[in-house]
């Protein structure tokens, strides 16, 4: 068992992803990764899917990773880490290795919700002892802000640009955390870097649970969201407070909301500071904002009901 997470411990720990990586200034992803690595009380080995995180943290001959790390392709971080974890089990059983090691995979929303969903679903079903983390920046950022199934309704992306006929993305997001929870895996959770203690506690807990774990972590991208470089944490906080990104966990089928905003803010608070939603504030697109609010209300309602059913 890992120790309970303490600020004292974290503040003294070496950060295992070094500065000098080439992610954009103000990007949410490296902060998320840093928190995940700090939260682990075990040595970890990571796989990363192709995407912003991967192309910016390991450019030959440099690497920002101070832990063993592998990138193989875009759609297969889960399958790749499942291979690493299986070799670990094999060598441990043979007595070649004795150390306790934990395994984590990082994938973007494109690499997880879309092209990597099959690989993730398969790895989870096989029961590998691994934590899969989706850093969700709500579009294919590395290739230039294309629409993914994680992109919120209404967002302006380069493949569904807001124009005179198409008002940005017309479809709602896929609810990946729910899909993963529906695998009946030991642990699925949603987290946000704004609520860093919540995020890190979830990671620490996840590493102590045997079997497949999934975490979906919101990861603001100032390039794609068209926000300021100092707004990543503010925006992820607004995502939580508007219930656009509820913080909860599903542990062995039991749903628990880990942070309930005192007062649920309207979704416009989250939309307003972001250039990708600017067009929604034109009178002819206001219906989209209404729809977005309805999506959120419905999902928040459902989540609360699920949590109350789960409550002891």
């Amino acid at each position: 068992m890992a120790r309970p997470l303490s600020l004292k411990e974290i503040s003294k720990k070496e950060v295992l992803i070094s500065s000098g990586h080439r992610m954009c200034a103000g990007c949410g992803a490296p902060t998320v990764i840093k928190m995940v690595l700090l939260a682990s009380d075990y040595p970890i080995i990571a796989a990363t899917a192709t995407g912003c995180l991967e192309v910016s943290t390991c450019i030959s001959d440099y690497t920002a990773w101070k832990i063993p790390w592998i990138h193989s392709a875009f759609e297969n971080a889960a399958a790749t880490i499942s291979g690493v974890e299986t070799m670990y089990r094999s060598l441990k059983k043979q007595g070649v290795i004795s150390k306790e090691i934990k395994f984590v995979a990082f994938g973007g929303d494109g690499g997880t919700y879309d092209i990597g969903l099959q690989s993730l679903s398969g790895a989870v079903e096989r029961g590998h002892d691994m934590l899969y983390i989706c850093y969700d920046n709500q579009a294919y950022m590395n290739t230039g802000i294309q629409r993914s199934s994680a992109t919120p309704r209404g967002a302006d992306t380069t493949t569904m640009p807001a124009g005179s006929v198409v008002p940005g993305k017309t479809e709602p997001r896929k609810n990946l955390t729910r899909i993963m929870a529906a695998h009946d895996l030991p642990y699925a959770a949603q987290a946000s870097p704004s609520h860093w203690m919540d995020l890190m506690k979830k990671v620490r807990k996840a590493f102590d649970i045997k079997g497949p774990k999934f975490m979906n972590i919101l990861s603001p991208c100032n390039r794609g969201w068209r926000s300021r470089t100092d707004e990543a944490i503010m925006l992820s906080r607004l995502a939580v407070e508007t219930c656009h990104w509820p913080l909860y966990e599903v542990e062995y089928g039991v749903t628990k909301i880990t942070f309930k905003p005192k007062e649920k803010k309207p979704i416009v608070d989250f939309l307003k500071p972001q250039g990708r939603f600017k067009h929604l504030f034109k009178p002819e697109n206001e219906w989209m904002i209404k729809k977005l609010q309805e999506d959120i209300d419905r999902e928040w309602e459902r989540l609360q009901k699920e949590a109350s059913l789960s409550a002891p």
Partner: protein
């Protein structure tokens, strides 16, 4: 002491894999390779091997998991055919680019569309430039022997590359023949302990696999990979020499059959070579100097040695069990012509496409081709360079 058995090609390969006893294997079903994995997983279920299985949800994940497992630091194998290999295609280049010595028997089968589960070589030919070493096998014995040697070759410290072992679907994979098995401990000693190189699991010495490389270094990386390829020939020959010591069976980069004094010759891969040899014997009995060359190490291709072996012939037919679309010749033909390109005096070459999608290759086909070659050798005239044989008009 060797043991002689009656076994199918798949059974023999499964037995070789049991004797190799890899640390991890990933598997996904596809005809005609499935049978190897069914046999292998029954070894797993009955404690005959130490292997941890990863029963993946696709071949893409099979190769991805093999890549993860191999980089973690251990012996890894998987098996596939046809569509499975096609689905792995992206990952094949990553396995070789990351220099991971994964071994993969490929039971050759046609590619869709139209769907066909029977033998031809389109699958492995489509992956011939993926940076994998390819060993091709005429029969179950060769498939068994090549599978064992593949581990030694791929894991060699000068090489560290993945290896495919090809054998013909159904014709070999599902036919029973006489096969000699080595003893378990002979195989174990032959391949030796797996030697790790930069394993991910060495937590004290963290390494990063699979970086992004920009134009400033990508080309140097590729050049280095190309240089490794040139070392494969020696390692394959050394492995063959060691293998002969324990098995008594000889292997080279390719096999020649009555070729030294031949005037006409066939170049043909895998099982059809066996049929061809019989027909060559008949022609020899009639006083016609016919011979054959059967490539074994197809990638990297031993251009120099192959050219040397064929250059003295008058006429040669390269038989391809796969076509390369685009108005081109068959893939084997292209390689054989390349191997002869530098010689000023060289045989006249023709190309026949045969046996696609499981179409039988019969002695009369070899006969037809050898008759045509006899004529070409005499007249030095070629009707058509490339032609489909054994096909309706």
């Amino acid at each position: 002491m060797a043991k002689t058995v009656a076994a199918t090609g798949n059974e023999a390969v499964a037995n070789a894999l049991r004797q190799v006893n890899p640390d991890v294997s990933a598997a996904y079903p596809i005809t005609p390779a499935t049978d190897i994995m069914q046999r292998f997983t029954s070894f797993v279920s009955n404690g005959k091997v130490k292997t941890e299985m990863i029963l993946v949800e696709s071949e893409h994940s099979a190769m991805s998991a093999c890549i993860g497992a191999s980089a973690a630091g251990g012996r890894v194998m998987t098996v596939t055919s046809s569509q499975g290999l096609a689905l792995m295609w992206e990952m094949l280049f990553i396995a070789s680019g990351l220099r991971l010595p994964i071994v993969m028997p490929v039971v050759n089968r046609a590619l869709s569309a139209p769907l066909n589960i029977h033998c031809d070589h389109s699958d492995a030919m489509g992956a011939r430039d993926s940076g994998w070493i390819q060993l091709w096998s005429e029969n179950g014995q060769e498939a068994y022997d090549n599978t064992i040697q593949a581990f030694l070759i791929g894991e060699h410290m000068d090489i560290r590359l993945p290896v495919m072992v090809c054998m013909d679907g159904f014709i070999i994979s599902h036919s029973i023949e006489r096969i000699e098995y080595l003893e378990d401990n002979e195989v174990k000693n032959f391949i030796g302990e797996f030697r790790q190189l930069n394993p991910l699991l060495d937590i004290e010495h963290p390494v990063s696999y699979g970086p992004l490389i920009l134009p400033d270094y990508y080309m140097e990386f590729r050049k280095a990979q190309d240089e490794v390829e040139s070392k494969v020939f020696r390692v394959v020959l050394d492995a063959a020499k060691d293998f002969e010591k324990i098995s008594g069976r000889k292997y080279g980069l390719f096999e020649t059959y009555r070729l030294d004094d031949a005037e006409i010759g066939l170049v043909i891969l895998n099982s059809a070579a066996g049929t061809s040899k019989d027909v060559i014997d008949e022609f020899r009995n009639r006083g016609i100097k016919a011979g054959l060359l059967k490539p074994r190490l197809y990638r990297p291709f031993p251009y120099k040695e192959t050219g040397e072996a064929l250059k003295h012939l008058k006429a040669v037919c390269v038989l391809d069990r796969a076509d390369a679309f685009g108005g081109s010749y068959g893939p084997l033909f292209i390689d054989i012509s390349t191997s002869l390109y530098t010689y000023s005096k060289k045989p006249i070459l023709i190309n026949k496409i045969y046996g696609l999608g499981g179409r039988d290759y019969l002695p009369e086909h070899a006969e037809l081709v050898l008759n045509e070659l006899t004529e070409i050798a005499k007249t030095e005239k070629v009707k058509t360079i490339k032609e489909y044989i054994g096909v309706r008009g």
